[in-house]
């Protein structure tokens, strides 16, 4: 049992001991000592604390069964544990009820669910939806598929040069009476930009549009209150919140979820099935066809417990200190261009180095033990917006340290020298 108090001082060295992988070395070979892992690819996926690993293993060893089905003992144990995660998730997002929480197999599936079920029902040819130029492909492609089926129109809100969402341009786009949805990131996976969600929701609602936030990044870096920001939909993913892969979350306002038909058909989402007619279960189960990711759900619940015990506010404060520290150090490097310098951002630092391709940066710093992401980050339109083919991206998590930021900076400096 984790007995840390949420107002205890943030002891990052102690926290690191909760993550077994952080003690391993990389690039070990006979005759060559390995390098300590400096894991700065957290925006792609975060590492797992012992609490999550143990919860999943213990569940499989002691409590495993299918859920929502059997009358036998273990089925009820497993169902109770799995549904407890729904309550934890609702609390984590301050959703009004666990019934507003739909579990999916990924954030990507949650986008496809909304596009297909809500979009397929409530949008018609000529209706407009607004995305932003900094969206992940997961918040672009499902809408394009829907466009192919229904003839909706996709408008794109731009960002300013520092990566801040251009609210004036968004306001202009919202002047069209045809806008039915604003689907926008709450935190950019490339720029780090945190968008003013409450303000965006207010603007969208004033224009008669619904609003969906992609919280895949934001929800792991700061406290999120879906009621305070008045989100109609909010999507997040488990594996970036120190939980397992294969688990996503869709929050939706109760009346909106009620208005949506099932996304996939199958077991678990039905009331009665005959070959003539099938009736569906209530929300949220209507959207959860088939055996769900049960073990992953248990792991996700443990992840929520873990970050809640540390305190999302404390995590945010720690990461903001790292962001300020790393930003200042990287800025001092000649020829380094930071892409995304919004005043409100999460601890994600995308950059390019003059004369060195990001792929070469990635391979080199990796040899120093520093894991960063290089490439287009599933955000190709954003790369075009900033005129780069790719970037290197260092993204920080609750367990990273200033010493690791130093390791990144030293490695990047060495890259500059290597190619000079």
């Amino acid at each position: 049992m984790d007995t840390r108090l949420t107002n205890a001082p943030y002891d990052v060295e102690k926290i690191r001991q909760d993550f077994p992988i952080l003690t391993r070395l990389v690039h070990e070979k006979p005759g060559r000592p390995g390098k300590p892992l400096v894991y700065l690819d957290n925006a792609a996926s975060a590492q797992k604390p012992r609490a999550v690993i143990d919860a999943m293993a213990n569940f499989m060893a002691h409590d495993y069964s299918n859920v929502h089905r059997g009358v036998h003992y273990l089925s009820q144990v497993a169902t109770t544990l799995y549904e407890a995660t729904r309550v934890k998730t609702a609390t984590f997002l301050n959703a009004p009820s666990p019934d507003t929480i739909v579990f999916t197999r990924s954030a990507t599936e949650a986008f496809n669910l909304v596009a297909s079920s809500w979009g397929g029902t409530h949008l018609k040819a000529g209706d407009e939806i607004i995305l932003s130029v900094m969206e992940h492909h997961a918040n672009i492609v499902p809408w394009q598929l829907l466009r192919g089926r229904t003839g909706i129109v996709i408008k794109v809100a731009p960002v300013l040069d520092d990566g801040t969402l251009d609210l004036d341009a968004l306001a202009d786009l919202l002047k069209s009476p045809k806008v039915k949805l604003v689907s926008i990131t709450h935190g950019s996976n490339v720029l780090g930009t945190v968008t003013p969600a409450a303000e965006i929701a207010r603007m969208a609602h004033a224009a008669g549009a619904k609003v969906l936030f992609d919280g895949s990044q934001a929800a792991v870096h700061m406290p999120v209150d879906v009621q305070a920001i008045d989100a109609d939909f909010y999507i997040m993913t488990g594996h970036k919140l120190y939980g397992p892969t294969g688990f996503g979350v869709l929050y939706g306002k109760a009346d909106i979820l009620e208005s949506m038909p099932p996304y996939q058909g199958g077991g678990d989402m039905i009331q009665t099935v005959t070959f003539e007619e099938t009736t569906f279960r209530e929300v949220p189960h209507r959207f959860e066809a088939g055996t769900p990711p049960i073990v992953e759900g248990i792991g996700f619940g443990a992840a929520i417990d873990y970050v809640t015990a540390l305190g999302m506010g404390a995590i945010h404060a720690h990461e903001q200190r790292l962001l300020a520290y790393a930003t200042e150090k990287l800025r001092a490097i000649d020829g380094l261009r930071l892409i995304g310098t919004s005043p409100t951002k999460a601890a994600i630092l995308s950059f390019t180095i003059e004369g060195v391709h990001p792929h070469d940066i990635g391979t080199l710093v990796d040899r120093a033990g520093v894991a960063v992401r290089v490439g287009r980050h599933c955000a190709e339109p954003l790369m075009d917006r900033f005129g780069v083919g790719a970037t290197a991206r260092a993204s920080f998590a609750l367990y990273n340290t200033e010493a690791e930021a130093d390791a990144l900076v030293d490695a990047v400096r060495a890259v500059r020298e290597f190619f000079n």
Binding site: H357, H359, D360, T363, F419
Partner: protein, 156 residues
């Protein structure tokens, strides 16, 4: 810090990466293809001028990419000149094997120009970097597409 990366980033590669040869779209060409590595966003165009005798007279490229992909394209255009299509394809087969397989696993792709083989050997280091193999082979896949008449190709 990066001493053990010298096998991958040899001086020749750094030189070709920084100062690529045969770079830019030529005024005349009769085969071309566009290659893309969706993983990293690298894009490359290969332009070939094939003579009446079926030999490569000129080979050029443009596009953007990492040091490995630029150097590989640069070296490729140099080694292709004077080759028949069959010889160019044989070199592609050899190069692909060199980047992906141990020496004893190479298959016979036809007669090879030993001088070209030696020049291309500087890129053999990518074999130890599976994530970077496509950087080295993109230009060759694209050249192959140009010879085959496919104007677009990817490394996927």
């Amino acid at each position: 810090m990066f001493d053990d990366l010298r096998d991958l980033y040899q001086e020749v590669i750094l030189d070709h990466g920084k100062h690529p040869r045969n770079f830019g779209k030529p005024e005349a060409f009769n085969r071309m293809a566009r290659g893309e590595n969706p993983l990293c966003g690298d894009k490359i165009n290969i332009y070939l001028m094939i003579g009446p005798d079926g030999r490569v007279i000129e080979a050029h490229f443009d596009g953007r990419g990492c040091a490995i992909s630029q150097a590989s394209a640069s070296l490729m255009t140099e080694t292709l000149k004077g080759k028949t299509e069959a010889e160019a394809e044989a070199l592609f087969g050899h190069f692909h094997d060199m980047c992906t397989k141990d020496d004893h696993e190479h298959t016979d792709h036809g007669p090879l120009d030993p001088e070209a083989v030696e020049r291309l050997d500087v890129l053999a280091g990518v074999r130890e970097f599976p994530m970077r193999v496509k950087c080295a082979t993109l230009a060759w896949h694209t050249m192959h597409a140009a010879l085959s008449g496919d104007e677009k190709t990817t490394t996927e």
